[in-house]
């Protein structure tokens, strides 16, 4: 690549980024990414009504138009990864543009939602405040930030134990007292591998965000998933036996009833590759806001120099990777020779529909809250035999007796004891196939889950709103 290559769009400025075989200057590249996101934000009438600035017309009065503008509140979950930061940046630019074009009027308001675990709180608070006071300063009145403790998802008056019997794949539950409750941290550390941990954390976070969206009466939740991220999400869902969720997860055109009230989801970054988002981060000086995420400079013309004392990244052992990471690694690996695979996967995923329901009624999974279409326990039982070949001679008989009496029998006994308790006091509990797998990778194949979450989330959030006052307080100090 020549150093002095010109941008192919404006043909005046020097190219800084090469994407999809085309050289871009910084301004044109920012516009390219921004337009891709805005195209999705205008994808149907419902979203146009949210994002456009409304004026009085034949159908509505001036007051009604203003009410629509004020009432178009959207929820932006912010992970401080590159995608959600870039999405917020484009939304911020949209607001600024609207204020300039429409003499101070804007079409929508943004509520940013940050889910945190205690260890990250200080860092995230600092970054959120920096975002508000620097990047989002001009639109401060249209943007609000909420912080929610992930632990708050375990705030519940009653709890239930969900237990998997491995010999029959039966899942049962029984209520337990509140003092048996686990924290999220404890729950995560009881997982036997990273995939299960990631799965549970994801389920908890998604529940918080969607519940927050429903309770706050937001018009839509904007998810920052890039094409790349969606592709590995689709592949991972298939690998985790969760393919029946794909249709709902990608559905931007219909209402989502997962938490009672209707909710609209939007993936405005679905046409933008992660490498492009990372490049956008670099050229827009957004890297300072990233948390626990390292952007790749693959598309930049001038690569970011590596610090001389920097350690080369350690290659991860395949066994320690999560299913999502393996899917991502696969896409990274084939990018050269089969580059269109990523977008093919996302397009194929978008063509999927809910499977036919083979159950008598509509049931939701007691853990991840997705619709259950098929009895996973029954399916597994049908294809797995767990009976044994009979004991053949006296020697084997002796071994069996030795086993029955031994320590080994007791260790397994702890699990068996729990199982037989659940067999007596527990009830059959609806859980999707994917959650059966996750449950199997938790200690004692059993977890304590809140049985009702009421409105407890709301109360926790209010304490952490970074309001205008707290900002001015900071500025005052």
């Amino acid at each position: 690549m020549g150093i002095n290559q010109l941008c192919k769009r404006c043909k005046t400025a020097e190219a800084a980024v090469v994407s999809r075989k085309e050289p871009f200057c910084i301004a044109c590249f920012r516009k390219f990414v921004s337009l891709k996101q805005r195209k999705q934000m205008m994808s149907d009438q419902y979203f146009q009504d949210i994002f456009k600035v409304m004026y009085p017309d034949k159908k509505k009065t001036a007051e009604e138009a203003e009410r629509l503008n004020q009432g178009s509140r959207i929820l932006v979950p912010l992970s401080f990864g590159s995608s959600s930061i870039v999405m917020l940046d484009v939304l911020n630019d949209t607001l600024t543009e609207q204020r300039e074009m429409h003499r101070g009027k804007t079409g929508f308001r943004i509520d940013v939602l940050v889910c945190y675990l205690k260890d990250d709180l200080e860092e995230l608070k600092r970054k959120a405040e920096a975002l508000m006071t620097v990047k989002l300063r001009d639109n401060k009145n249209s943007v609000k930030v909420h912080l929610v403790d992930i632990e708050s998802s375990m705030n519940s008056p009653d709890f239930t134990r969900i237990h998997l019997q491995d010999s029959t794949y039966m899942v049962r539950n029984a209520s337990v007292s509140a003092n048996e409750a686990q924290s999220v941290k404890e729950l995560l550390s009881s997982c036997s591998n990273r995939s299960a941990r990631e799965d549970l954390l994801n389920i908890i976070k998604t529940a918080i965000i969607k519940r927050f969206g429903v309770q706050g009466g937001y018009k839509a939740i904007l998810w920052g998933h890039s094409t790349t991220r969606l592709a590995d999400e689709i592949m991972s869902l298939v690998v985790k036996g969760r393919a029946s969720q794909i249709a709902n997860a990608l559905n931007d055109s219909e209402e989502d009833f997962e938490y009672g009230e209707p909710l609209r989801n939007l993936h405005p970054m679905r046409d933008i590759l992660l490498s492009e988002i990372d490049a956008y981060c670099f050229v827009s000086d957004l890297t300072q806001y990233l948390h626990k995420y390292k952007p790749q400079d693959t598309l930049l013309v001038n690569k970011i120099p590596v610090a001389p004392d920097a350690q080369p990244p350690r290659a991860k052992l395949t066994k320690n990777m999560t299913i999502n990471e393996l899917a991502r690694q696969y896409f990274d690996g084939i990018e050269g020779s089969y580059s269109n695979v990523i977008s093919t996967v996302v397009r194929t995923g978008a063509k999927l529909d809910d499977p036919e329901n083979s159950l008598k009624s509509k049931v939701r999974c007691g853990i991840c809250n997705n619709t259950v279409f098929c009895d996973g326990s029954h399916w597994l039982r049908n294809i797995t035999v767990t009976s044994s070949h009979p004991i053949e001679d006296a020697e084997e008989e002796a071994m069996f007796r030795a086993w029955s009496a031994s320590e080994q029998g007791k260790v397994r006994g702890e699990y068996l004891k729990l199982t037989s308790e659940m067999e007596i006091s527990g009830h059959e509990f609806p859980v999707c196939y994917g959650c059966i797998l996750t449950l199997g990778e938790v200690k004692h194949k059993s977890l304590i889950w809140p049985s009702s979450q009421s409105n407890s989330v709301e109360s926790v959030i209010e304490d952490f709103i970074i309001s205008d006052e707290s900002d001015s307080e900071h500025e005052g100090h």
Binding site: D166, N193, I234, M235, L237, V238, V239, K240, G241, R242, A243, S244, T318, K319, M321, I323, L326, A327, Q329, Y330, G333, I334, Y338, V341, T344, V345, R347, T348, G349, L352, D353, D354, P355, E356, C374, G376, W379, N382, I383, T384, V385, T386, S387, S388, H389, P390, I391, E392, E396, E397, M399, F400, A402, W403, S404, E407, Q408, G409, Y433, L437
Partner: protein, 373 residues
């Protein structure tokens, strides 16, 4: 002094309790099942492996009493175990089926001739009749010639299309209406992943069907190993000391499938149950109803990207037949006839008598193996 017999060196006296089989708790565990990570002994392994296949056969009603069934036998591990297990289960549970081995000779010197020798031994070992159908007699081409003519890159396309037809024709010749193949759970999961990665919408919904049947064809196909892990099939063959041929085909494997296989291997290391999880996912894949396109002008003819001509209206018609050979086809002319025509155009007009230059890489390997000082 009384006589104490020497201890058997092969059989350690004390088996630790922790080493016992998790199912019978009375014999030493030898195998860890990839499906649920249970450590089990050899006898319990045989028991669960055979019973699971029996359950698959029964719950899907694969066989009718008195039915004649052809086992697609390549001499490889899957089909060898399939022939063995089917014969065993047929006797044990009295399915009342007659089993015939059906082999296809693609004409790959140094590979297929050796594996066919294995099938011929199996015929004797299991006492089952054997029928061999060759590409030479059906198409007047061997795979070696096709590769010499069309290159090694597309070899799997030709071979796959031709074999599918050849199995049907072989079965029809024997008056058999049911072909069972040794496709295992790994193959099936790999296909599900590939269909998503390639965006092959037409195959997405059907890719996990255990039995495929068409109203226009008298011959149905089924896969009793749909839920059997390749690893367990290999172990079964190993512990039962079955006679199978383990060399891979010498022509290049499909490159894209290779990448999917690599991904599967990594996934399996992280979560061994993922193979059946993917099959479970595959069974729940369903497409949104197609948006109705604007009606094309009456009497239009659609030409597909591969040059085939679609049927009037462009819709899939079950049981449609090729205009040339009469085989099932979703287009006017079937894929095999299309490929054959392409080959025929490139065939050399003259050939040398007793020419062996078309023999592929396999032949060379065999020759080299046999060299001695």
């Amino acid at each position: 002094m009384s006589f104490t017999p020497p201890s058997d060196p092969k059989k350690p006296k004390s088996i630790k309790v922790s080493q016992l089989c998790e199912l019978c708790h009375s014999r030493k565990a030898l195998i860890k099942r990839p499906k649920n990570l249970q450590k089990i002994c050899k006898l319990c392994f045989f028991h669960v492996f055979e019973t699971e296949i029996h359950n698959t056969i029964i719950s899907n009603n694969l066989f009718e009493y008195g039915e004649k069934v052809a086992v697609g036998a390549s001499g490889g591990k899957d089909s060898t175990v399939l022939a063995y297990v089917l014969k065993l289960l047929n006797e044990r549970y009295n399915y009342g089926i007659q089993i015939v081995l059906l082999s296809i000779d693609e004409g790959i010197v140094g590979y297929r001739d050796d594996s066919l020798a294995t099938v011929k031994r199996n015929k004797e070992q299991y006492g089952l009749p054997l029928e061999i159908v060759s590409y030479r007699e059906l198409y007047d081409w061997t795979m070696d010639e096709i590769v010499a003519c069309a290159g090694v890159r597309n070899s799997c396309t030709y071979c796959g299309v031709f074999r599918r037809q050849a199995l049907d024709r072989g079965a029809a010749k024997l008056g058999i209406r049911h072909v069972v193949t040794g496709h295992n759970a790994d193959d099936m999961a790999e296909t599900v992943l590939m269909n998503i990665l390639r965006g092959d919408v037409a195959r997405l919904e059907k890719s996990t069907a255990i039995m495929t049947q068409s109203s226009g064809s008298p011959i149905k196909r089924s896969k009793p190993f749909k839920y059997s892990y390749q690893k367990e099939i290999v172990l079964y063959a190993h512990y039962k000391k079955l006679d199978y041929f383990s060399t891979e085909c010498t022509y290049a494997p499909e490159a894209f499938r290779g990448t999917a296989r690599e991904l599967m291997k990594n996934l399996e290391a992280v979560r061994p149950s993922c193979i059946i999880d993917i099959i479970y996912s595959g069974e729940s894949l369903r497409l949104k109803p197609k948006r109705t396109k604007r009606a094309p002008p009456a009497g239009h003819v659609e030409v597909c990207s591969d040059g085939s001509v679609s049927l009037n209206g462009g819709d899939f018609v079950d049981g449609n037949r090729c205009e040339r050979c009469g085989y099932l086809s979703s287009n006017r002319i079937c894929k095999a006839c299309m490929l054959l025509e392409g080959l025929q155009q490139n065939r050399a007009k003259l050939s040398i008598d007793r020419d062996v230059s078309t023999h592929g890489a396999a032949r060379l390997t065999r020759t080299l193996e046999q060299l001695t000082f």
